[in-house]
Symmetry: C2
Subunit: 334 residues, 2 copies
């Protein structure tokens, strides 16, 4: 199996991507990782003897985190991100991964990989950590701003299958992000989606309020891309604000530093529980080729695990299973 | 000035409401608080000598936190919440406050207080604490699920005036909750709202991403009721989850308890920075009578401050100023 990795994408690239790729091929000898990017920069992190399961495809351009996505993808055709996705489309590789510009990856996915048959709107998934030590696969978090009810049904089907086949969640609980738990709550969209989810062949657990997401109320959370983006960024923002304020307090005096030092192992354990690097990257679902978005701040471990996720995405034929399931749901609803 | 307080509403009522009322009239002798609720329960928290600025209006019913709002308001006509709002409508009091069932207070506000002229959709505001030690007045957080662009413009005008007149924020910065900071980002609603806000007589600072809200990127944040509800509950949920996980770590061993004891003053200071009790309750804006929703977990101090907010709401003629400003914005846009 061959996986293309945008070696230049992410805050810690290309160090994190190259070392993550080396770790991944060591752990799983059936994988070949194609590092796409600046050859010299990539080689500087590789050993003298490059393993046979690591290949390099040199590119000359890099899409920056703050590049306007559509323009960047159209103009930087020789960028590491675009070339990685194109290689997936051309079936030179089985899947593509990037920790770079999210909007650009979605755009490249739509333009180059293309939509799966029957999917109007691919969805970007993300992981929200929860107290159960797992993650909630949340989709859509920003691919499609004005979603229709049947889009959300498709997100639910795709998310549920991905959670089962790649994350290993048995019979994943699917929830609908809403403002209250009772049926009939919400806006026009969620009111229309609820019965569709209830009738589908899913383990649908009903409406989920935003405050219960981190309590682990469901495994797969479905919402439109605008709301999902707000949810994801507010959780990230709240966590980051709280940690930085706590850090200020914990370092504000010598005695506080002593207290913080005592608590350090506990704080590390806590951080580990909130760490979703072990789940690797989250998928763009509904594209013809498997495409994985790794977190921008991915380290070596997160990249290694994103590669493992991509490998399972391919090995478990998730896209084929999604196609069958969508067909089934369509037939049932006719 | 006379303010009706639903003495039975909130997790700590009637103790919190009665003690909060006593503290408020002591601090501000020009206020009379009318405690609406179970007379015996109220009296049990009052001194033998009831101050002349405290009155009691006895009611026989209570709307519970989990009552279905519309049904509860229609059926429990002698409930403390409904009677408090009715007294405001009848101008027996100048304003009404409740820390009880939010949906019921919105329903009672719409049914009994009624909409201000020119306002199609009143909005429920809420406070989100930020690192600047202030709060971000966020609206709508759930009164109106499917908002139109001109509703959001009205929220902005009402929120900005309330922030200035009641919260004392000078020239409040108004932001539009969105998925990116650039103009042109977002869903159909936010794309249509952006130019309306840019043209209005407001200190509009543009799009605000959810992760920057707690950084204090703006003073007044405008969004539709569905998205606002998700934002508010995800911030609350993330904070509560993080604190409970930290608490687990801090009490997991004797040595950790020692560390936590050392850090206790710092943790208390931190909690205080995140505490928005000092801002009292948040308003329902766009109703004919001033109605304030205090947080369900309000203690005596939060109730006292909600009463102070209600008094400023009345004293500053916020509703009259809103009417003038709406008229101005309407004329300008014609």
């Amino acid at each position: 199996m061959r996986i293309a990795l945008d070696a230049m994408g992410g805050d810690n690239a290309p160090r994190s991507t190259v070392l993550g790729a080396l770790a991944a091929v060591k752990e799983n000898p059936s994988i070949t990782v194609v590092l796409v990017g600046d050859e010299q920069a990539i080689r500087s992190h590789l050993p003298q003897e490059i393993p046979s399961s690591i290949e390099i495809v040199p590119t000359t351009e890099v899409i920056q985190p703050d590049d306007e996505p559509v323009r960047a993808v159209r103009r930087k055709k020789n960028s590491s991100l675009v070339v990685a996705v194109e290689m997936a489309r051309e079936k030179i590789v089985d899947a593509a991964i990037s920790a770079g510009n999210t909007g650009a990856l979605m755009t490249a996915g739509l333009l180059y990989a293309g939509r799966m048959e029957g999917i109007e709107r691919p969805a970007l998934a993300a992981y929200i950590p929860n107290v159960k030590g797992r993650v909630t696969l949340t989709l859509d978090v920003g691919a499609n701003m004005d979603a229709k009810p049947h889009h959300l049904l498709q997100y639910a089907v795709m998310g549920s299958l991905y959670a089962e086949k790649v994350l290993g969640f048995e019979n994943p609980k699917v929830g609908l992000l809403n403002v209250g738990t009772e049926e009939g709550k919400g806006n026009e969209l969620t009111k229309a989606v609820f019965p569709l989810l209830a009738e589908a062949d899913l383990n649908f657990v009903g409406n989920i309020e935003a405050r219960d997401v981190m309590e682990g109320a469901c495994d797969v959370l479905v919402c439109d891309g605008f709301v999902g983006n707000v949810l994801l960024k507010s959780v990230e923002g709240a966590a980051s604000t709280i940690f930085s304020l706590l850090k200020q307090e914990f370092t504000s005096s010598l005695i506080n530093k002593v207290g913080a030092a005592i608590l350090k192992p506990g704080l590390s354990r806590f951080k580990k529980r909130m760490d979703y690097a072990e789940y690797g990257g989250a998928p763009l679902l509904g594209l013809r080729s498997p495409v994985i978005k790794a977190h921008g701040s991915s380290d070596e471990k997160a990249i290694k695990n994103a590669i493992a996720s991509a490998a399972l995405f391919v090995k478990q034929d998730v896209n084929d299973v999604i196609q069958e399931e969508l067909q089934k749901n369509r037939t049932e609803s006719e």
